[in-house]
Amino acid sequence: MASPNDLQFQEFEEAAELLSADPGASTLSMSASNTPNTAAGGEDVKLDLSEDEEGQEESSELLGGQKPTSGFWTFEYYQSFFNVDTVQVLDRVKGSVMPLPGRNFVKHHLRSNPDLYGPFWICVTLVFSVAISGNLSSFLSQMGDPAYHYRPQFHRVTIAAVVIFVYAWLVPIGLWGFLTWRQGTERQVGGYSFLETVCVYGYSLFIYIPTSVLWIIPFEWLRWTLILVAMVISGSVLVLTFWPVVRDDTKVMAVATVATIVVLHTLLAIGCKLYFFQTAIHVPSPVTTPPPAHITLATTAH
């Protein structure tokens, strides 16, 4: 049992020595899912060889949060945020849809390789799915009305885009800044990097995409059930991720932080439903016909 661990440890030492000698050298990471042509040189030496938790914690502790070494003006800097394969993205999406109480999304699924592909394209898909489904649902609800003329309502795409992108990118900025300020000097105990926060928020919005498509079905009770289910699932992804971080804080701040996360998430879901999926509340013609009949009767009586 001792020799395989010793061999692993030796490899890491040798690689670390080489890396310290030449920090700009490109490194091959050993995990099976990464392809050799990672663009950022000297990004990190990941020994993701085993599934056990202690191996992961050891590597993340030693690495202390991955930072690409190229400057932010180079293309390779941004390429390091897209270093994911199809199976990894699908795995992260699955993890956001099925939150299990023992699994922290960041530790289990991101594993110090946060990406920007998922958050960005999930937001774009959600914008279009909400706008298109809202348009379809208003068309279906007013189809029988002869006075109704179909309108594509394209301005809703702009509104949806603004709302969803502001939520998915500004709220993580605020939350990360707040958590970093509360952490103070204990940086390495559990604080998430900014990318990981954005990543969690982005992937947690995925459940709303099928929900918004199912909202086309015009039953109110079904819509409220769906929105409750979606809020519970994505809210629990967020809560399970951020609870271990705020747990060490004072009780009041911890509860307040988690409550704020949940409330903002709820506001987004309910706001989207109320604005994009308005049901026709006014009853059309029969209300307006009796008064003219009264007037004509009155005039003929004269």
């Binding site: 945020f81 897209f82 199809t86 592909y117 898909t125 309108r151 594509p152 394209f154």
Partner: protein, 226 residues
Amino acid sequence: MAAAEDASRPFAGLSDVSISEDIPVEGDISVPLGSSRRDDEFSTLDEPVKETILRDLRAVGNKFIHVLYPKRSSSLLRDWDLWGPLLLCVTLALLLQGGAADSDDQGGPQFAEVFVIVWFGSIIITLNSKLLGGTISFFQSLCVLGYCIMPLTVAMAVCRVVLLSGSGTVSFAVRLAVVTASFGWSTFASTAFLADSQPPNRKALVVYPVFLFYFVIGWMILTFSP
């Protein structure tokens, strides 16, 4: 005697040779340029204007034909041009006009919105594929994505013709079939050209935004109501 001496010491007699000033020295020291013949092949300055325009038009037409019958050819990728995408985008945006007779903001997309969606959508998809490690160049990808809008533009023209005969359920069914077919054709054509330049384990990550892009354009075409 002097000759034998001279022969034994080469260049010996040259040290005291001087040319008197009244002997004219003349000649032609220009080197005949062998490159003038190569120049004629590349220099297009002297050709008639019709020839210049026709060459570009032939290239654009050639690419349209390649989109109609998508096979994995590299000529579309190698000699990119953006005339075709510009022409198609302007045609599509013009055809999508007149959708809201009362021009309130409940109507369809305006000209600028169509333009922005097509061009910024193409740019974002290109950036996405390059960030994921694709080997295609920026303008080649823009060229392919723009040319593959052609089936959807044709579908838009067909939809406008169908809408002239009324906007009932039958016309909607016809329009739906036409738009779905052209959307599938566009996506298939563009992935046939783009698929080779991606690393194999990320192909789906690159194809999905292309699918979403053509889906949104197809939606704009389908919901056009005069």
